[in-house]
C-alpha cells in the first residue's frame, strides 16, 4: 500500500493496485462520522460501440444500456441488494454519466461489511428475462420524469445541437423506445466487457482505518477468480469539429423559457493532467466572464434577462469537451445575442486582470471548502482518475495559472463558429 502525504491539503491518500488489476484508493478523514465509498467502472452512456480482444466485430448496443445495467445490478439471485446495505445501516445508490458508472454507499457503522457488500454485488450480475422486463416500466417513468424537466431538456437539446454523431448527444438513460430493445444477453455482454476489476476503481473516504479497510478489500478480491483482463476497444464515429445545428428548440409546460449556449472543443485530448488543467483554466475564464461577480451577470440581472439560476460549466474528457452558459430567461435570443457581444469584446480586449485574480483565488477557496464534503470528493475522484487526472492537484494547478493562459483559452475556445444555442419555450395552452 502506497502513501501519498499532502501537507497542503492535510491528508494522506493510500493506494494499491491489486493482482486482478483493481485500483484502490483510500482517504481517511479523522473526525468524520461517515464513510463514503464508490466502486466505479470506466463505462458510461457513450460506450455504445465496442469489442474486446477476442471479438471479430464491433457491437452497437441500444442507447441507455449502461444506465439500465446500473439499475439491474441492484438485483441479485438472493434478492434486493438495498436490503443487504439496509441490514448494515448503509444508504446505497448509483449513477451513470456519459463516461462512468458508479456504485456507492455511505454509512456510519459496519464500514467493512458494507465495503464487502459493495464489492460483492457489483461483481455478481444476475439478469433474467423477467427482471429485465420489469425494469423497463421503472426506467420508462424515470425518462418521462426527465422529459418534463426543462433543465434536463434544454441541456440534452444543446448536446444534440453541438454534436453530429458522437454518442454524447444521446440521453444517458436512452429513450422509452430504445430501452425496449435491451435484453439479458446484451446486458451480460456489456457487463463482461466493462466490469472487469482492471477497468474499475474503488475509492473510500471518511472515518475508517486504512490498513483494516485495505485488508478487507484485498481478501475479498483474492477469494474471487476473474477472466483475463479484456482489451477493450471503443469505436466512435468521427465527429466533425463544427457544430451540428446552431439552434435547438423544444416546448414544455413551463412559465419561463430556458436558454443554454454551448461551445464545443474541436480537439480530442489524451488522458492526463492536462485534462484537469484545461477544466480549471476554462472554469476561471467562464467565471470571470459570466460568474456572479462579473459585470455581465449584474447587468443581465438588472435588465431582467437572467435570474440567479444563471450559471456556467465546462466538461472535458479525452474525447469531447464543451462549455455551457445559461439559465432561465424571458428572451432566449436576446440573451444569446448579449453574450456573443460580450465575448466579442472580451476576445478583443482580453480578460480583466483584477477579475481574473479574484476568480482564481475564489476557485482555490471553494475547492478547499469542498474537501469538507466526503460525497464531493468521492463523486469526483474516480471520474478524474479515468481521465488521467488527479483531483487533488486542483490547488497547485490554480496557483500557477496566469492571466495569459486564461486569455489564450478564451480566444481559442469561446468562438462563434463553435457555438450552439438550445432553448425551451412555454407550450401554448
Amino acid at each position: 500500500m502506497r502513501e501519498h502525504k499532502d501537507p497542503r491539503l492535510g491528508h494522506v491518500l493510500y493506494q494499491e493496485t491489486l493482482d486482478n488489476g483493481l485500483n484502490v484508493y483510500l482517504l481517511p478523514k479523522p473526525g468524520f462520522q461517515q464513510t463514503f465509498a464508490t466502486f466505479t467502472t470506466h463505462y458510461g452512456s457513450v460506450d455504445s460501440t465496442f469489442r474486446t480482444g477476442g471479438d471479430e466485430d464491433f457491437i452497437t448496443v441500444p442507447d441507455g444500456i449502461a444506465h439500465f445495467l446500473e439499475h439491474k445490478m441492484f438485483e441479485s439471485e438472493h434478492g434486493d441488494v438495498f436490503r443487504d446495505f439496509a441490514r448494515h445501516g448503509a444508504s446505497a445508490n448509483a449513477y451513470t454519466t456519459f463516461d462512468i458508472t458508479s456504485y456507492l454507499f455511505s454509512s456510519t457503522q459496519d464500514v467493512y461489511e458494507n465495503l464487502e457488500i459493495l464489492l460483492d454485488f457489483v461483481q455478481d450480475p444476475y439478469f433474467t428475462d423477467e427482471n429485465v422486463a420489469k425494469e423497463k416500466g421503472i426506467i420508462a417513468q424515470e425518462i418521462r420524469m426527465y422529459d418534463d424537466n426543462p433543465d434536463t431538456r434544454v441541456f440534452y437539446g444543446l448536446l444534440k445541437a453541438l454534436y453530429h454523431v458522437h454518442p454524447v448527444r444521446m440521453d444517458i438513460a436512452g429513450t422509452v423506445e430504445s430501452i425496449q430493445r435491451i435484453d439479458k444477453e446484451t446486458l451480460y455482454r456489456c457487463y463482461r466487457t466493462f466490469y472487469h476489476p482492471s477497468n474499475m476503481v474503488l475509492f473510500a473516504v471518511g472515518g475508517f482505518d486504512p490498513e483494516s479497510a485495505m485488508d478487507v478489500i484485498r481478501t475479498n478480491q483474492a477469494r474471487k477468480s476473474f477472466s483475463e483482463m479484456p482489451r477493450i476497444e471503443r469505436d466512435r464515429p468521427k465527429e466533425p469539429p463544427s457544430v451540428n445545428h446552431p439552434r435547438a428548440e423544444a416546448r414544455l409546460a413551463v412559465h419561463q423559457p430556458r436558454c443554454l449556449i454551448g461551445w464545443k472543443d474541436p480537439d480530442p485530448m489524451p488522458a492526463g493532467p492536462q485534462i484537469l488543467e484545461r477544466e480549471l483554466v476554462t472554469g476561471v475564464v467562464l467565471d470571470v466572464l459570466f460568474g456572479r461577480s462579473s459585470d455581465l451577470f449584474d447587468e443581465l440581472i438588472g435588465e431582467g434577462l437572467i435570474d440567479q439560476q444563471f450559471s456556467w460549466e465546462y466538461e472535458r474528457t479525452p474525447e469531447y469537451g464543451y462549455s455551457v452558459v445559461g439559465g432561465n430567461t424571458p428572451d432566449p435570443d436576446a440573451l444569446a445575442e448579449r453574450i456573443e457581444r460580450h465575448l466579442e469584446r472580451a476576445r478583443n480586449e482580453g480578460l480583466d486582470a483584477e477579475a481574473f485574480e479574484r476568480c482564481r483565488r475564489k476557485s482555490i477557496g471553494r475547492f478547499m471548502a469542498a474537501l469538507d464534503s466526503p460525497s464531493y470528493i468521492a463523486r469526483h475522484f474516480a471520474s478524474y482518475l479515468f481521465r488521467g487526472a488527479d483531483l487533488f492537484q486542483t490547488v497547485e494547478i490554480l496557483e500557477r495559472l496566469t492571466l495569459a493562459d486564461a486569455d489564450r483559452r478564451l480566444r481559442e475556445h469561446l468562438l462563434p463558429e463553435r457555438r450552439a444555442v438550445s432553448v425551451v419555450l412555454p407550450k401554448q395552452a
Partner: protein, 436 residues
C-alpha cells in the same frame, strides 16, 4: 458527541459548536416570525433584498466581489418555512484561515459583512434603494414561477396548499406573485424594521474557534444591539410559543386533480397525524414513516416500484413540525387508480401491524445512519437543532438516536394509526395528449 452551547439575551440566541472537523467556518442566522397572509410576500423578499446592497457595499455586485475576495467565502440568503413560522436565513461560510496564505482575519470580515447586510441595508429616503426593489420584484416573480416549472415541487406545493387551505401553514414560503406589483421601497423598508423588531433571532456558529464562549458573547452583543437599533423603536416585541402540529380533522379526504401538458402524472397523498415533534411518540412516527416510504427497503418503493413497476420514485417523508406525512410518486397517468390503491394498501398494512423484523430494524438503522451523517454537514446540524428549538424540545443527537432505537413494533403501529388521509392530489396530462 458534540452539542451546541447556547447563550441567550431575550429574543436573541447564539448557539456555538466548536469543532476542528472542517476546513471551513460557518455562521447561520435564522430570523423567525409567525407567517401570515398580509406579510407573507414582503417578508419573503427581505432576505434577498439584504444582499442587494449595504451602506458600505452598495450593490449586489459589490457584496459578491467582497466575498470572492475573502477566499471565496459564501454569503447566501433565503426564505424558509417551518409549519406556521416564516424564517429569513443568512448563511456564511469562510475557508479556515490557517490553511490559506494571506487569509488571516477573513472570518471576522465575513461576520461584519453579514451583520451589515441584515441591519444596515442601502437606504434611499425612507425606503430601500429603488433600483434594488425593482430588481428583486422581477427576480422574486421568477422565483415563484420557477416552482411551477419543477413538476415534482409544484405538485407537492399544490397538494399542501389544498390540504392546508385557510391555515397559515398552507401559505407559500415565497409569497404570491400578485402581491409583487403593490410592494414599494418605503413599504418594504417599514416591513424590514418591523421584522427586525419582532423576529426571534438564532445564530449558529460552527467551526474551529479559538475561544468559542468569547465569540458567542461577542456575537450576542453585536447582533442584539444592531438589530434593536435597526428595528422600529428599539424595543423587543417578540411573543410566540412553540410550534404546534396541524390538528387532525375528520371527514372524507379532499380530492384534487390538475391538468397540464406533461408526460408524467404526479400522485401525492397528504396525511395529518397531529403528533408534535416534542411528543415522546415522535420517534415512533419517524420509524413508521421510514417503514412506509423513507428508504429503498420501504413498503412504497418495494410495492409501487419494484413489484408493480409503476414508478421510478415512490416515497414518503415526515414534515416534523407540522406533523404531516407526505407521499409522492411519478406515474403514467393511466395507472393512477392502481397506484393509489397500492399506496393506500401499504398504509393499511402498516396500521394493522404488518411489519417484519427486518423492516423494523433496517429502518431504525437507516434513520440513525442519517442522523449520524448529518453531523458531518454543519448546516444540517444547525437545522436539526433549530427544529427542536421551534418545537419547544431540543433533543441532543444521542437522545434522538437512542429514542429511535428504542421504538418497538407496537409503537410503530400506534403512530401509524394516527395517520389520517387528508388530501389526494393528482397532476395529470391534458386531454388529447397521448399520455393523458
Amino acid at each position: 458527541m458534540a452539542t451546541f452551547h447556547t447563550v441567550h439575551q431575550g429574543r436573541f440566541h447564539v448557539h456555538t459548536l466548536p469543532t476542528d472537523q472542517f476546513r471551513t467556518r460557518h455562521l447561520v442566522a435564522k430570523l423567525v416570525t409567525p407567517i401570515s397572509r398580509p406579510s407573507v410576500t414582503p417578508t419573503a423578499l427581505l432576505p434577498y433584498l439584504w444582499l442587494e446592497g449595504t451602506r458600505s457595499y452598495p450593490s449586489a455586485l459589490a457584496i459578491t466581489r467582497r466575498t470572492d475576495d475573502l477566499f471565496g467565502a459564501v454569503l447566501r440568503s433565503g426564505i424558509g418555512k417551518r409549519a406556521d413560522r416564516h424564517i429569513a436565513e443568512v448563511y456564511l461560510s469562510v475557508p479556515e484561515e490557517g490553511r490559506l496564505e494571506g487569509a488571516a482575519g477573513v472570518f471576522e470580515e465575513g461576520l461584519r459583512l453579514m451583520l451589515e447586510a441584515v441591519t444596515d441595508p442601502l437606504v434611499e429616503g425612507d425606503g430601500f434603494a429603488k433600483g434594488h426593489v425593482e430588481r428583486e420584484r422581477g427576480l422574486h416573480r421568477r422565483r415563484i414561477e420557477s416552482v411551477f416549472d419543477d413538476k415534482i415541487a409544484w405538485a407537492m406545493e399544490r397538494a399542501l396548499a389544498e390540504a392546508l387551505a385557510g391555515l397559515p401553514e398552507g401559505l407559500p414560503r415565497l409569497g404570491y406573485a400578485e402581491d409583487l406589483d403593490a410592494v414599494t421601497p418605503d413599504g418594504l423598508y417599514a416591513a424590514h424594521r418591523r421584522f427586525l423588531q419582532e423576529a426571534e433571532v438564532h445564530l449558529y456558529a460552527i467551526g474551529a474557534f479559538g475561544d468559542p464562549s468569547a465569540l458567542a458573547e461577542r456575537l450576542l452583543t453585536a447582533w442584539s444591539s444592531a438589530i434593536r437599533q435597526a428595528g422600529v423603536d428599539g424595543a423587543d416585541r417578540s411573543a410566540s410559543g412553540p410550534v404546534e402540529p396541524v390538528p387532525v380533522r375528520g371527514g372524507e379526504p379532499k380530492r384534487v386533480v390538475d391538468a397540464q401538458p406533461v408526460q408524467q402524472g404526479k400522485l401525492n397523498l397528504v396525511y395529518r397525524t397531529g403528533i408534535p415533534y416534542r411528543a415522546d411518540e415522535y420517534p415512533a412516527l419517524l420509524v413508521a414513516n421510514g417503514i412506509l416510504g423513507g428508504f429503498p427497503h420501504s413498503k412504497l418503493f418495494q410495492n409501487v416500484r419494484e413489484k408493480a413497476s409503476l414508478a421510478y420514485y415512490a416515497s414518503s417523508r415526515v414534515d416534523a413540525l407540522s406533523g404531516l406525512v407526505l407521499i409522492q410518486t411519478g406515474i403514467d397517468p393511466v395507472h393512477r387508480d392502481r397506484a393509489e390503491a397500492i399506496i393506500v394498501e401499504q398504509v393499511r398494512a402498516l396500521q394493522q401491524g404488518e411489519v417484519t423484523d427486518d423492516e423494523l430494524s433496517f429502518t431504525k438503522r437507516g434513520l440513525v445512519n442519517q442522523y449520524r451523517q448529518s453531523l458531518d454537514v454543519p448546516a444540517a446540524v444547525a437545522d436539526i437543532h433549530f427544529g427542536g428549538v421551534l418545537a419547544g424540545r431540543v433533543r441532543a443527537m444521542d437522545e434522538l438516536m437512542d429514542a429511535i432505537l428504542a421504538v418497538e413494533r407496537q409503537d410503530v403501529v400506534a403512530a401509524a394509526n394516527r395517520l389520517q388521509l387528508d388530501t389526494v392530489y393528482f397532476l395529470r396530462g391534458e386531454e388529447g395528449n397521448a399520455n393523458a
